[in-house]
Structures are given as structure tokens and as C-alpha cells.
């Protein structure tokens, strides 16, 4: 287990339209990479079938250190306060290193 470095993983579910805003935010925080998936589901905005752009969400996974998480969460909180429909999950993960 020594090869696992403790990190934080953010999972952000967001409307497709916010993708650029979110990825710009990540770049500003110096995040070197992220994974982005198109997703479907159901929520307060109704069905998200993923068939049209208007009902497609994105799920962004990003792994970063605890120090960086705090600033990023501040930015995400500002978006939530403006009314954007985002879901943000933070979890502790172990990152396999060599």
C-alpha cells in the first residue's frame, strides 16, 4: 500500500453548457488533467436523456491535492450561489504512483 499517494477526487456533475467555465477553472488552479464524460440521468431540471444538447450533463473527474481543493471548492460554491445546477462530490482516494 506504500505506492498509494493520498489525494482528493472531485466529481462534478454539471450541465454541458458549463463545461468550458469549469475546465477553465481547473486550468487556472493548475490542474494538469481531468476526465470528462457525457452523462444522462434525472434531477430537479427534469429528465436528462443525453439525446440532445439541452438534456446532456457532463461528469468531470479531477484528482488534486488537499491544498488545491479548497480554492476550487470556493469557485464552485460561487457558481452554486448564482443558481447553477451543479453537484459536487469530494472523496479521499489513493493514487497509484511508481
Amino acid at each position: 500500500m506504500k505506492r498509494l499517494r493520498p489525494e482528493k477526487m472531485l466529481a462534478i456533475i454539471s450541465p454541458t453548457e458549463l463545461t468550458e467555465t469549469l475546465t477553465n477553472m481547473l486550468h487556472r488552479e493548475g490542474v494538469s488533467g481531468y476526465t470528462l464524460l457525457q452523462t444522462s440521468g434525472f434531477g430537479s431540471s427534469g429528465p436528462q436523456t443525453g439525446m440532445l444538447d439541452i438534456d446532456t450533463n457532463v461528469l468531470i473527474y479531477v484528482i488534486l491535492s488537499e491544498e488545491r481543493v479548497s480554492t476550487l471548492l470556493d469557485d464552485l460554491e460561487r457558481l452554486l450561489r448564482k443558481g447553477y445546477h451543479l453537484k459536487v462530490f469530494v472523496s479521499d482516494v489513493g493514487l497509484l504512483t511508481i
Partner: protein
């Protein structure tokens, strides 16, 4: 019901099939990106066709069509906004977001109207295609202005989000309003259609003409399923809002008939198309902009209204009704 037999055309029947398939919980499903691909194809095909025809059209009538498209795009959202605000069923920001959809247009409804007129052998002017391209954007700007005005009235102060890097957010929203994918594709295809040599156009015909109606049927099959999926959302909206989704297109259709005939001098077919443009509500171009610019509004309201109520209403009842109205006013 007037014109019901005229609705027995494949495009409308496939829409009904999609609607029914979802209601009876069939496992009929489209591959995820097929609907997006079909909408790209349909906009490209209609753009090339419209542009080719307009390349041989009268400049003055084309400019007049653009002028009236802008007038419709600017005024219809204001009407919708005040109707919604006075109904007191939604707050002013939701009213602004919903109203913007009703000043913009639905390419799907427009194409269904084309199929309806073609199937019934009714000729129509090509100028409404320009109006289709022009009407996507002005309503978005009006919606944004109404939202800004509503925020002032409600005393909501929006601070600059650091994440948006200041003014870049506003620029991004305006860019989305005027340069969103469907506007660029439609306007670009029209330009290509207008300048292309007739021989090259003949080579494109198998792609943009021969398979067009089949592709439209597939697209409407999927849209029927999308519309039916939103039926359960009606309860969340209430009867008054649902009624708005039917009454607003009727108002728009009436205004469109008057503009098509009195201001533009079109025949029955062209007047019907203008009425369809004025009566339809966007579900492609406007929702992303409203989600970005008016996050306080509930997307469930405006998507359910435009896609779940107004679109099916126009496809099944609206188009024959606007055709009837156009016949009455042109005959008079």
C-alpha cells in the same frame, strides 16, 4: 377536426409513433448521438436548399423578410414575458427565460410544416428559411435583457464570479446567442447554397433532397419520445403554465399570419410558414444560453413547455390551424 386527414404524412405519424412508444414503455431507444447527428444533417440540408433558392430571389423581399424576422424575434418574448408575469405562476426570471424560447424558433416544427405543405401540394416562398436563421438570436438577447431587468426589480445583485474571469462570461453568453452551432450551421449552409454552382448542387441532391424526408421522420420519431418523456413534468408546472404552452403559439401564429400576408405579401404556403415560425418555441438554441445566463430559472419549466407542450401542439394541431388561418386571410 379541421385538416386532420392532412396530418397523415410520415413525418407527423413518426412523431406520434415516438410519443406512443414512450407512453407504452417500449424499449425503443436511439443511439445517444443519433438525434444530434440528425439535427445537424437537417439544418445543413434545409440551409443548402434555402440558400440555393434564395440565390435566385429578390433582394428587397429577402431584406424585408429579415426585418420582419427581427421584429417578431424582439416583440414576441416581451408579450410572453408580461403574460407570464401577470399570471403570477412563475417569478420574473423564469418568465424571462421561458419568454425567450417563444421569440426564437423550432427548426423541427418548421421542417414538419414543410413536409405538411409538400405532402398537400401547397407551394411556398423560400424566404421563411432566411427568417428561420435570423429568428434564432434576437429573442435570446431580449430574454437576457428581460432577465437583467427582472433582477433589478427583484433586487438581485450578481457579483462577478472569479471563475468567469470578469466580462468573459457576458461575452461568452452573447457569443453563444449569435454564434451557437445551429445559427452558424444554418447561415453557413445557406451561404454555400447561394454561391454553389448548379452542377455541384445536382451532385448534392441525393444527400440533401432524396433522403431528407426519411431523416426528418427519424428525427421526429426521437422527438416524439423526448416529448412524451416530459409528460410527468406537467404536474410540477401546473395547468396555467401548461395553458401558456398552447396559448402563446396561437398568439404567435396569428401575428405570424398577419405579418406573412400583410407585411410580406406571401401566398398561403409562405404565410403558413411565417405563422409556424412565430408560433414555434426553440428547444435547441435557446435552452443552453438560458441555462448559462439565467441559472436562477428552472430548466424543467422552459424545456417542458417548448419541447413537451408547444412542439407536439404545433406538429399535431398548430400547423393545420395556421394553414387554415393563412387560407382565410389570403382568400380575404
Amino acid at each position: 377536426m379541421y385538416g386532420f386527414s392532412n396530418l397523415l404524412i410520415p413525418a407527423v405519424l413518426f412523431f406520434a409513433l415516438g410519443f406512443l412508444a414512450r407512453l407504452i414503455r417500449s424499449d425503443l431507444r436511439f443511439p445517444p448521438d443519433l438525434a444530434k447527428a440528425l439535427s445537424i444533417y437537417l439544418l445543413m440540408a434545409i440551409g443548402i436548399h434555402g440558400g440555393y433558392e434564395l440565390g435566385h430571389a429578390q433582394l428587397l423581399t429577402a431584406l424585408n423578410s429579415v426585418f420582419w424576422a427581427v421584429v417578431l424575434g424582439l416583440t414576441l418574448p416581451v408579450v410572453g414575458y408580461f403574460v407570464l408575469v401577470f399570471s403570477r405562476k412563475v417569478d420574473a426570471l423564469n418568465a424571462a427565460a421561458i419568454a425567450a424560447h417563444y421569440g426564437s424558433v423550432s427548426a423541427g416544427t418548421f421542417l414538419t410544416a414543410m413536409a405538411y405543405l409538400d405532402s398537400n401540394g401547397i407551394p411556398y416562398e423560400k424566404y421563411p428559411v432566411i427568417m428561420l436563421a435570423v429568428m434564432e438570436s434576437p429573442a435570446i438577447v431580449v430574454g437576457l435583457l428581460l432577465a437583467a431587468w427582472s433582477r433589478r426589480r427583484l433586487g438581485i445583485v450578481r457579483d462577478d464570479v472569479r471563475a468567469d474571469a470578469g466580462g468573459q462570461h457576458s461575452v461568452g453568453i452573447l457569443r453563444e446567442a449569435f454564434l451557437n452551432g445551429s445559427v452558424v450551421l444554418l447561415a453557413g449552409s445557406m451561404l454555400i447554397g447561394a454561391v454553389v454552382a448548379p452542377k455541384s448542387m445536382a451532385a448534392l441532391n441525393p444527400f440533401v433532397t432524396d433522403i431528407f424526408m426519411g431523416a426528418l421522420c427519424l428525427f421526429l420519431l426521437e422527438m416524439g419520445m423526448e416529448a412524451a418523456l416530459r409528460i410527468s413534468e406537467f404536474r410540477r408546472m401546473g395547468l396555467v403554465l401548461a395553458a401558456f404552452g398552447v396559448l402563446m403559439p396561437l398568439v404567435g401564429g396569428l401575428v405570424g399570419v398577419l405579418v406573412g400576408r400583410a407585411a410580406l405579401g406571401f401566398g398561403v404556403g409562405g404565410t403558413t410558414m411565417v405563422a409556424v415560425l412565430a408560433a414555434s418555441a426553440s428547444y435547441i438554441a435557446v435552452p443552453p444560453v438560458m441555462r448559462l445566463a439565467v441559472p436562477e430559472a428552472n430548466p424543467s419549466f422552459y424545456i417542458t413547455l417548448s419541447l413537451g407542450i408547444t412542439f407536439p401542439f404545433n406538429v399535431i394541431f398548430g400547423i393545420p390551424l395556421y394553414h387554415h388561418m393563412a387560407q382565410a386571410i389570403v382568400g380575404a
